[in-house]
């Protein structure tokens, strides 16, 4: 399998074998870190919109492999303010670095960047569209904690309408033999286009608005934040935000090895009292961003096969 010069733009670009290869590479790197692997290599980190977590995770991943990082964390103060096109910015960064990670508020920006660049582009999020390294670390978290992906009952809770992480993870999971549960209020249901895509791939799914009806069947529960800005009416927001809070009482009678994930940041969807239970793996999940991003950096630059 050859990942050299492959751009990491969308989870849709990956076959099942390619996904598994990335997960295995992450495991190898995590078990046996090579602090000189990327020595002498430079990563451009271009954040056209701020995202502290994603940026720090990518930069830490590169530095822990011995590589250097250049770039910006916010476009103000760059030539973008002078009206430079994305194409030109990428053409410039392409000459300065061996790999480019970028985040951009406009959907499709990463795909365009990949067309401009001769070095690999890693998409760190393009608007509401894709965030493939998040999806990979989510899969890595599932396989690390459950030792498998096939035959799991995986629930998604919260804002399934706008939740980019949910859409991408569901598409990635459609390569496997899983049962999916989409738990959301009517106003925030999983979009039909994604449900149709899952059906076409033969994935069985259940839509439910009451978490308590299905929680005991689940092996993994992926919780997402219901964002205040999605609701024009604050009363509506409060109504939905309060409905799906996970606390110790919610977890009574669930499978002992149910694992709870969350892409973070959380607001009040998961009560801190859950943090100490064996169910909580969301901080571990955030940490898994490092080996996954290291694997993708090493594979696409051709430093690891």
């Amino acid at each position: 399998m050859n990942f050299k010069n492959k751009d990491i733009i969308s989870i849709r670009d990956f076959s099942k074998d390619e996904i598994i290869h990335v997960l295995r590479t992450a495991e190898k790197i995590e078990n046996k870190p090579d602090i000189d692997l990327m020595k002498g290599k430079v990563m451009s980190s271009l954040f056209f919109e701020p995202s502290t977590r994603t940026r720090l995770s990518f930069e830490s991943a590169m530095r822990k492999l011995g590589g250097d990082v250049i770039g910006f964390s916010d476009p103000s103060g760059t030539s973008l303010k002078k009206g430079e096109t994305l194409w030109d910015t990428i053409k410039m960064a392409d000459k300065y670095s061996d790999i480019i990670v970028m985040r951009h508020p406009v959907e499709g920006a990463a795909r365009l960047a990949a067309e401009a660049s001769s070095v690999p582009i890693l998409n760190g999020g393009d608007g509401a569209n894709q965030h493939p390294t998040q999806t990979m670390l989510d899969l890595y978290t599932i396989i690390k904690s459950k030792k498998k992906i096939d035959n799991l009952n995986i629930g998604f809770l919260g804002d399934l309408k706008y939740g980019r992480t949910v859409h991408s993870l569901a598409i990635a999971l459609s390569h496997f033999n899983v049962n999916l549960y989409f738990i959301a209020p009517d106003a925030l249901k999983m979009p039909d286009s994604y449900l149709e895509e899952l059906s076409e791939k033969g994935i069985k799914y259940v839509e439910e608005s009451d978490l308590m009806k299905v929680i005991k069947e689940l092996d993994v529960l992926y919780v997402t934040r219901i964002q205040k800005e999605r609701f024009p009416d604050p009363v509506e927001y409060k109504k939905y935000a309060g409905v799906y809070q996970i606390n110790k009482a919610t977890l009574e009678g669930v499978k002992p090895d149910l694992k709870i994930m969350h892409p973070l940041p959380r607001v009040n969807e998961i009560h801190p009292e859950v943090d100490d239970t064996d169910h909580a793996i969301y901080f571990e999940q955030a940490g898994n961003g490092i080996p996954i991003r290291q694997a993708l950096i090493a594979l696409t630059t051709g430093m690891v096969k």
């Binding site: 406009v106 959907e107 499709g108 286009s193």
Partner: protein
């Protein structure tokens, strides 16, 4: 064509006839081809009898021949359309439109936050299904249906 039908819509010396348009999409075809802006003689007819469609529309454009991109665009809203190329009042060529697998530059993306609507680049769409029509933007990955399709 019998004489009665001939009377309904006049012939052209040179140009293109788009026939078998679903009658409701007739003006959209004219819009897609930007006929309002041109100086060509244009005849737009609708509600003609059609065995296949029930009612159909016809658009005749004098002294203009369509590009592949324009034919592709028509195929999206009038998948049964037939195109005749007229020279010296005679049909020189006649063919059915066909929805292509990839659409390059023919239409714009309905997603305002798509990079193609923010920077000057050519759009590209993959046709996922022909009936019902479903296409996916190469850039923002948004799935669009027939109602979302806008002229580029």
């Amino acid at each position: 064509m019998n004489s009665k039908k001939m009377l309904q819509i006049s012939g052209i010396q040179e140009g293109t006839v788009v026939d078998h348009i679903p009658t409701k999409s007739t003006f959209k075809v004219a819009e897609f081809l930007n006929l309002k802006e041109g100086k060509n003689i244009v005849t737009v007819g609708m509600n003609f009898e059609s065995k296949k469609l029930g009612k159909k529309g016809v658009v005749k454009i004098g002294e203009r021949f369509l590009t592949k991109g324009e034919v592709d665009k028509i195929s999206l809203i009038a998948p049964d359309a037939r195109i005749s190329i007229i020279k010296d009042y005679e049909v020189k060529e006649k063919f059915s439109v066909e929805i292509p697998k990839i659409l390059n530059g023919s239409i714009s993306c309905a997603n305002n936050n798509c990079i193609t609507n923010n920077q000057s680049i050519t759009t590209k769409f993959y046709v996922l299904s022909k009936d019902p029509l479903k296409i996916r933007c190469h850039y923002c990955e948004r799935t669009l249906g027939k109602d979302d399709i806008e002229v580029a």
